[in-house]
Amino acid sequence: MSGVIGQAVSRIDGPAKVTGSAHYSGEIALPGLAYAEIVGARVASGRITSIDTAQAEDAEGVAGILTHLNMPKVNNVPLLPSLIGGPAPGETFFPMQDDVVHYAGQPVAIVVADGLEQAQHAATLVQISYAETPSITTIDQGRADAYEPEKIFGGLMPAQTRRGNVEDGFAAADLLIDAPFRFAANHHNPIEALTTTAVWDGDQLTLYDSCQGIKAVQLTVAALLGLSPSKIRVLTRYVGGAFGAKAMVWPHVTLTALAAQYVRRPVRLALPRGQMFTSCGHREEQEQHIELGATSDGKLTAIRHHKISITSPFDDWAEPAFGVASQLYACPGFEGVHRLVRGNTMTPTFTRGPGEAVGVFTLECAMDELASELGIDPIELRLRNITDVDPNTGHPWSSYGLRECFERGARRFGWAGRNPQPRSERHGNWLIGTGMATAGYPIAFFMHTQRARAHLYADGTAIVQTATQEFGTGTSTVMTQVAADGLGIGLRDVRFEFGDTDLPNAGSPVGSNGAMMVSAAVHNAATAVRDQLITLAVSDSQSPLHGADPAGVVVAGGRMTLAGDANTGETYSSLMQRHIMSDAEAIGSWDPPPLDTPHGLLTFGAQFARVAVDADLGIIRVRHMVGAFAPGRVLNPKTARSQLMGGMLWGMSQALLEGTHMDTRHGRWANASLGDYLVPVNADAPDVDVELIEVEDHVTGPLGVKGVGEIGQVGAAAAIANAVYHATGYRVRELPIAVEHLLAHLPSGPASAAAGAQPDLT
């Protein structure tokens, strides 16, 4: 009511973060703190034949060492119900329960010492012998034994998506596109490594954990250790990036708790960067094969979209490739099938834009090929196929905005008048190309009841609480805005308190749902307190509002007035003081609509990119990116734009930089460092323009928020890949796109010289 929702408020955690006073999970001072170091398996498959800790135990400062020989047994915990509100282990396997090695880097010992350097050194002194067996760590190695799982994504989703009859659709097509794609594995690499500090006080455990969901950590550790959740408190305010790596709760968290119990001291474990590649999942290596059928006027008749990827020995995990890809266009026939290869890696996990960032890449590159084949502008082709209803269910979208995204994105980018001919623009030695793609991201209502508490003091200030954490999304800022708006008080009069499992329940912000679900609970708590006081005022004969219709009372600046008559009213403070109330409080809760709600649930957007490709060397530079998105109501355009921009640059990175490669001789990642696994640096990042298109949504909670966390990435890589084609005339069907893919296809390269078909613009 105070109008503070939608304002470009600067982050309230800004001063703490720019001065270095914001404390992250590895920065809590504790008396008697000891340091842990994990020893990871050197081989990818086999058994431990001997493990000798004598030398390590004798090293200076060592407090204790756990291996499978003395590690307590933990409970088996399934991946489901997972993040819908239960325990959420990242993999069903828990290490150090026996002598079997399933993947390289699997924890086989944990060393605890007085000092960090002492722990690091002692970890190198643990002598382990293995009986190594052959490993499978790539799709190619396991392709012959690929299988079709029943469910994927931790059991959350079916492995197949079908509608209509694809064979009929292909038979009706005038044109077919058939395109196979390969994708390297990706690792999230938040700059703050996963870090856990565990402190026991009798049978009470306190964890400071770098995570995306403190409640999920509490429930997972409780389930594994057979403890009541009431014995476990998780305290996490600030998290140094997550991107999916910290959504599930990985074994090191519980290992740290067990190590602290073993040495009877607080223990901190901060994963070294190298272990970040074998400790918190990854986006799996995958291949996707798409076939499109279309009529000569560009109407899709059939899509067949198959994926094969590699998972762990224990879990059927694949990112779902065909959620959004099956929903963007009104194509009568769709068939999506996931197949899996079992390999010696840990269980893959959510990585920003899980599934959709890759599945939509495949679809949108194929759509660009179709546009080229038909001679139809890529936007026009999409406009001929988009749909006002979810084609899988026939339900209308809860809100849409895709046409406006195309229109405003194209205008901002300067798409009109584009010459569709590849290699048609050259500046000096740079081949210039432009490309676009559609973006979409699901709205997933799989969370349980969300709760928040609003507590208003008689001086008109408030504390609003919920058990979430701030990992850079801006949640602490926007929830302060939502609380101030709901209470009708100033932003400075609200303190948003979070980061403690003792606070009311909030789910893990995953799948871009954080702003939607947490704001719903905060809004309901704040407005419940407001309504209590309005009710009191209108029934109080001493109040100027006595007898008024409560629905006709508005609150701003802590003052309740009649709508349209600002002179008639009083402040919360005067009312509360008259009634000798020190405070007022309410719990607000919100339940998502049922999963079968009769609405199509996606957030939509459109992506545009301009690239320059060196005509001799194939070096690719992204010059400019524009993204237009319709994320429902925008709570704070400043933080929303930043998150969308970050997602778009993740898409740039997906297209051109990121790939973890397996050394199959050893079954180990070959580039497990930030020196070898490329992520964007400042020089890689172009200027990015974000267009926000507000659409009203009456399904996604009381404020109509959809989400901005991941859609920025979806489609961005495809826009870049399509721009690379437009610049060079060559389609690279592998990510990340590298110089070596292009070298033979540049103006002076052998392919061009032999074909002689491309215009020589030199």
């Binding site: 720019v18 001065t19 700059i191 850079g472 933080t639 640096v681």
Partner: protein, 171 residues
């Protein structure tokens, strides 16, 4: 130190040694093993956790501090080698509770999200202006490329640096 080979200091260690570092203008005595990095000395021994550990390998820049006014990666610097040198960390950047203009500009331009790389980015950004490496966006991009921001706030980081540069009257 340049160009002149001083007499080698006496060998110390490997056990913990008395060392006095000068951090943000204050002498800070502590007992550390010679193998302790400046970053771990700050974070684990002195409670100065503003300097962040991202990789411990010199690749991410989250630990950027100044040694004698120049940018240094605290994770690749042994603490004992900093005796007799002035170490400045993010905690020493703002004086008297007032934000440094670069800190204020980072908030104003939304030049961070999770905030974990931010102290290192800011220490680099301030140094960049002193070095004369912020004349245009091309320079800023290159000379800020030792600091990874995984949230990818890069365009906003450039905007913050431009704002401080321009407010100071340009280079």
């Amino acid at each position: 130190m340049d160009g002149e080979i001083a007499a080698l200091p006496a060998e110390r260690g490997p056990s913990a040694q008395a060392v006095t570092l000068t951090i943000n203008g204050e002498p800070r005595p502590l007992r550390i093993e010679p193998r302790v990095s400046l970053l771990d000395a700050l974070r684990e021994h002195l409670g100065l956790t503003g300097s962040k550990k991202g990789c411990d390998q010199g690749t991410c820049g989250a630990c950027t501090v100044w040694v004698d006014g120049r940018r240094a990666l605290a994770c690749l610097t042994l603490a004992v080698t900093c005796e007799g040198h002035e170490v400045t960390t993010i905690e020493g950047l703002s004086a008297g509770g007032e934000l440094h203009p670069m800190q204020a500009a980072f908030i104003d331009k939304d030049a961070f999200q999770c905030g974990y790389c931010t102290p290192g980015q800011i220490m680099s950004a301030v140094a960049l202006l002193d070095e004369g490496h912020a004349a245009d966006d091309g320079q800023i991009r290159e000379w800020m490329s030792g600091n990874i921001c995984r949230c990818a706030a890069y365009p906003n980081i450039r905007a913050a640096i431009r704002a401080v540069r321009d407010a100071a009257g340009g280079e």
